[in-house]
Symmetry: C2
Amino acid sequence: MPKVVATAPGKVTLFGEHAVVYGYPAIVTSIDRRVYVTATPRNDNIINISAYDLKTPGIIVTYKGSEVFVTTDYGKSLSAVSYLNKAVDITANYLGIKRGIDLKVKSEMPVGAGLGTSAAVSVATIAAYASAHGYSLSKDEISELGWRVEKEVQGLASPMDTSIATYGGFLKLVGERNEFHKEKLEVKVEIPAVIAYVERSKSTKEMVLKVKDLFERHKDVVNGIFRLIGEVTEEAEEALKAGDLRTLGELMNINHGLLDALGVSDARLNELVHLARVAGALGSKLTGAGGGGAIIALAPGKLNEVETTLGLRASITLRAKFGSEGVKVNIMD
Amino acid sequence: MPKVVATAPGKVTLFGEHAVVYGYPAIVTSIDRRVYVTATPRNDNIINISAYDLKTPGIIVTYKGSEVFVTTDYGKSLSAVSYLNKAVDITANYLGIKRGIDLKVKSEMPVGAGLGTSAAVSVATIAAYASAHGYSLSKDEISELGWRVEKEVQGLASPMDTSIATYGGFLKLVGERNEFHKEKLEVKVEIPAVIAYVERSKSTKEMVLKVKDLFERHKDVVNGIFRLIGEVTEEAEEALKAGDLRTLGELMNINHGLLDALGVSDARLNELVHLARVAGALGSKLTGAGGGGAIIALAPGKLNEVETTLGLRASITLRAKFGSEGVKVNIMD
């Protein structure tokens, strides 16, 4: 049985977060920051997981049947580890096998920053586990199993993150959950961006509920905001295809204001978004659920200026190119 | 001829700025910060103006026919003085008289903060000049002449500021310039607010042009934003009449996000707006044209907390009650 390394990219939502929950389109893209899962088959049924660089010095967790041994516990990393364990569980069931594995995870992204790290971990683990045991899953299978992992760990999950971790590139998504369609967008232009992150004070679930509460109190207005976010997303699709970065930036700025109107931005995200513009970004917006988390800034020709400025206030900044490839498996021996 | 003191209130735009330029409704209110113009008739044709507390130590300007003598020049105050001079000119013409006057102006508000100081100065000067010479103008006349003063000094002007300085209370305005309708709103509840101000980096004209540029590049989306601001304003009218401050606050937050989507907020205004919310305000938004300037925060029961927090970042903070009475004249002797 071979040792394999599977890798999957993180993601950012370019347009349409929150509105997507209400049936409007969203555009997501993969980024050139990835997680790497190395899988070595074992002769027993033990699943041994070592996690590195998940924004912590590293932890080791061992599962023996229903028992869990944590060598070092660092909160968020532990939560990432539950995705690995569930991914193994679901993939083994799907393949109808029950074999142990040593998994090593490395991540180029922080956990919990809204960059889809948990989805990338799930997707890469599924691909690694299957390949290490001699099976080859299709992308559709990996994506489907990845979504199942997220649903089981989180209770509820959008298929957005696991789709983009699997397929990479740019995806336009319409509808949530049961009636979910995705469409690959052909984007030819390179899009250099800066991502900046501040600690989240609210979970995605809390933010989705906050929007739901506002929606119920102000149906017409909030519906109008969703509809406008949908229109912005459709226009952004055209701008992406045409490689018109100026228009794309303007639409990001508009989308950010609309998210602020939904009550999902906060003082820190707004500061980062506006600092990026002052530093020369063509556009900037929060990305993901809000309540802290990440912003993205479109910064062709201004990467240094924008990253340096954002670095004054953000916990983490990173440069990213959009649209890098999806899940990939390398067999090592 | 009697010495008179005329006084007129400043104002804030509660809802609908920018969208009002495109035909959507706006709601403005007077605040309990006023300008006081003391007028003493003279036996010659000289117009002598002393300005105090216009955010400067005070200046004295003397007009003799077309000659201007400035005893102390402090930039912004000088610009306020041009409204006084024009108001005298227009009122004297309207009354068909040509008599000199000594005018003393005091202001409880800064000049150039978007609080309608120049309109209050114009309106109070018109009322003071007319009364000091034994004439009594109706509110409609004062409002109309005040608008004329603003148009002549600025080139272009909305009748919003001079209307609210004249009538006081809460006004709903629909349409701009030539087809302009106003409706007095009956508001029974007291609305305690905090206003915070940061230096403006852009003029009203620049901000209006910025929105126009975005409108021309993204007609559908920007039209959609205007329409939503209009809906928010209509809902706010109901909330005001019902005294529902919680809903009013939520609508302010939504309106702020929509203004941010139009590109008229900036890092400093957003910071103030969100600090106010963190400090306990029911809602907060930029008020006026944006590009720096003022924000308002609805802060019943939290005036201390909100004012103190805003004071950390703003150049000026002041408490204000909304809806105080319009122009008033007291004859002193």
